[in-house]
Every structure is written in structure tokens, then in C-alpha cells.
């Protein structure tokens, strides 16, 4: 005999519920956390490395890397900070279950800043709250000036937008005002900084923003 069990539960809200729990846990431990999102090669690892290098004497930093392999993670582990690989198994985004699992390995009371390096992708990570405090999106000059028009959800959900590789501006047909216009029509409250992780130009402005949020 068959019977019907009525459920009516939103599967997608499970992620958001867990994300709220994670955010609360981070708050209780006075941890400020950022979710760094960008396409592959835009400079997520470079930015995180620069940030750790400049701030590691002042702050206790930890990094979670959403990836399949630990190539990026190895570039950060040498700083002597807590790191964890949130193995995505090849998935296109991180979710709060992966985030919670990765957090388990950290001494939370000994962390001030938690940096999450999400999977290199401008679409899927935008839909999944990880429980972090701010969304940091990196775009880079060689990718082209049309990214805000092609991936609106990612730019709409960002709190900070970093335009990386500005040292390429004179080598690429990148129209800054077209790019800015594309961003502003989606998100007028966005903080916007231009920088180059290679030359170090503009990195201090980003660090100042981070510093203000850590107060």
C-alpha cells in the first residue's frame, strides 16, 4: 500500500539557513569574513596572498579555498596561517555545507579575518550564501570591459568590486567608463577599487577598506 507524505519544504533555503548559523558563529568569535569571487585567472589567489603578506603581522588570518586541488592553497600555507581546502569535488560553486566542514578544522577564537576563495566562476557562486560578511568580486582588465553586462547577478550581489591588473590598461582595449557604467546600473552602493596585484598599485586602498571593516 502506498501513502503520500506532504512536505512542502524549500530545498534551496537549507543553504541559507546554514549560512545564517555560520554567520552567527563567526560573529560570536569576532571574525570578519569575506567571500572572494571571480573568474579563473582574475587574481583571487594573488589578491589573497598580497593581503596576507601585508596584514599577517597585525591580524590573525585564516583561508578556506574552494577548489579540487590544493595548488592555490599551497601558495598561502607558507605564510604559516591556518588554511583549509573545501574540496568541491569539481562542483561549480561552494555551498554552506562545504563551508561549515572547512570551518571545523579552525581554532575560531584565534582568527580575526577569514578569507574564502570561492570557485573560479562568475555565475554559480553568486547564488549561494556561505555565511560570510561581505562579497568581494574581482574583475580584471584582460577579461574585458563587458563582464558586468554578461554576469549581472555576480556584480549585483557584490559589496566590493576590485578591478585587478590595471597595469594592462594601456595594452588592452578596455573601456573603463563602459565597465563602470555597467556596474553602476546594477549596484550603486558598491565600493570600487582599481589595483594591480603585480605592481602593488592600489592594494593599500583595498587594505584600508578591509581595515575599516575589521574595527
Amino acid at each position: 500500500m502506498t501513502k503520500t507524505i506532504s512536505i512542502n519544504e524549500n530545498i534551496l533555503s537549507e543553504n541559507d539557513k546554514l549560512a545564517l548559523k555560520i554567520r552567527k558563529k563567526l560573529d560570536e568569535n569576532n571574525i570578519f569574513s569575506i567571500n572572494v569571487m571571480a573568474s579563473p585567472g582574475a587574481g583571487k589567489t594573488s589578491l589573497i596572498n598580497q593581503t596576507i603578506e601585508k596584514l599577517k603581522k597585525k591580524l590573525r588570518i585564516a583561508v578556506i579555498d574552494g577548489d579540487v586541488v590544493d595548488i592555490d592553497l599551497k601558495k598561502m600555507t607558507h605564510h604559516g596561517i591556518p588554511t583549509a581546502l573545501a574540496n568541491t569535488g569539481g562542483a561549480c560553486h561552494m555551498d554552506s555545507v562545504m563551508m561549515e566542514r572547512a570551518l571545523d578544522s579552525f581554532p575560531l577564537s584565534e582568527i580575526d579575518l577569514l578569507i574564502v576563495e570561492n570557485v573560479g566562476n562568475l555565475i554559480c557562486p553568486a547564488s549561494f550564501d556561505l555565511g560570510t560578511h561581505k562579497n568581494v568580486v574581482i574583475a580584471s582588465v584582460p577579461e574585458g570591459d563587458d563582464k558586468p553586462y554578461k554576469y549581472p547577478a555576480m556584480f549585483k550581489g557584490a559589496d566590493v568590486l576590485l578591478l585587478n591588473k590595471v597595469d594592462y590598461l594601456d595594452k588592452e582595449p578596455f573601456n573603463r567608463s563602459y565597465f563602470r557604467k555597467g556596474v553602476e546600473r546594477l549596484n550603486e552602493n558598491l565600493e570600487f577599487f582599481e589595483l594591480s596585484c603585480k605592481t602593488g598599485e592600489g592594494v593599500d586602498t583595498w587594505l584600508d577598506w578591509l581595515g575599516k571593516n575589521l574595527l
Binding site: 501513502k3 503520500t4 507524505i5 530545498i11 534551496l12 537549507e14 543553504n15 562542483a91 560553486h93 546600473r185
Partner: protein, 128 residues
């Protein structure tokens, strides 16, 4: 019959649905409880703007339910149309129209009002 090559290709390209289908299976098994011997039908409501492709959910369901009490069960997908609204001027977009900018006032403050969900509505189970 799905060849290994096709399976590999599909796993590499639509992993997005695999994760959510796993979350769905976890919820289904939890709700079925320990007395259920077999899950026959799983009914879900899938919003047009949820970002998930129903064929992919169906595809993964058949793979991940193997060796569980949901093996061989059918996923019935009820599609719900998407609707968006502009919070700045109040304009309601026609059903199914997805936009990031309001066509009336140009504001970016457009939000999805309906059709972003993936709801597990009910399951049909056999206990004997």
C-alpha cells in the same frame, strides 16, 4: 544506456544540479523515515528562475538513488513560472521575463517575486 563518456561529460558540465539533487535526496530520505521500504514518487516544484535545469535533476536522480530506498522512483517536476518586480517604480514584469534592469524606469532594483524556489512538495512511499 548511458556510456561512460557521456556520463563523464555530463558530470563535468552540469555539476550545479548534482549538488542540489543530493540535497533533495537527503531531505527525501529524512522525511521518509526508517519505516519506509520504498519511495515511489517524489514531487517537486521548480521555479523558472531557480537556475536549475529539470532534465539534469532527473538525470542525476537516477544515478544517486541507486542502492537507496529511492532507487527507481520517479521525480515529478511541477514547473512554476517566474515573475519579477521593480522595487523602485512598482512595475511588474510579464511572467517569464528575466531582467536585471527595469524596462520602465531603468532601476536595477528588480527582484524575483516568484519562481526562485525548489520545493519538495510530497513523496509517495510504500511501507510493506
Amino acid at each position: 544506456m548511458i556510456t561512460i563518456r557521456r556520463l563523464r561529460y555530463t558530470f563535468l558540465t552540469v555539476m550545479h544540479e548534482l549538488q542540489i539533487t543530493q540535497a533533495l535526496l537527503t531531505k527525501v530520505l529524512e522525511k521518509a523515515g526508517s519505516k519506509t521500504r520504498k519511495i515511489v514518487v517524489v514531487k517537486i516544484v521548480l521555479g523558472e528562475f531557480s537556475g536549475f535545469v529539470d532534465e539534469s535533476i532527473d538525470f542525476y536522480w537516477n544515478i544517486i538513488t541507486k542502492d537507496t530506498i529511492a532507487s527507481g522512483s520517479k521525480v515529478v517536476i511541477i514547473r512554476k513560472p517566474g515573475k519579477m518586480k521593480c522595487l523602485a517604480c512598482g512595475h511588474n514584469m510579464p511572467k517569464g521575463e528575466k531582467t536585471e534592469i527595469c524596462p520602465k524606469c531603468g532601476s536595477f532594483k528588480v527582484v524575483v517575486k516568484e519562481g526562485s524556489e525548489l520545493v519538495l512538495q510530497s513523496i509517495e512511499v510504500k511501507n510493506d
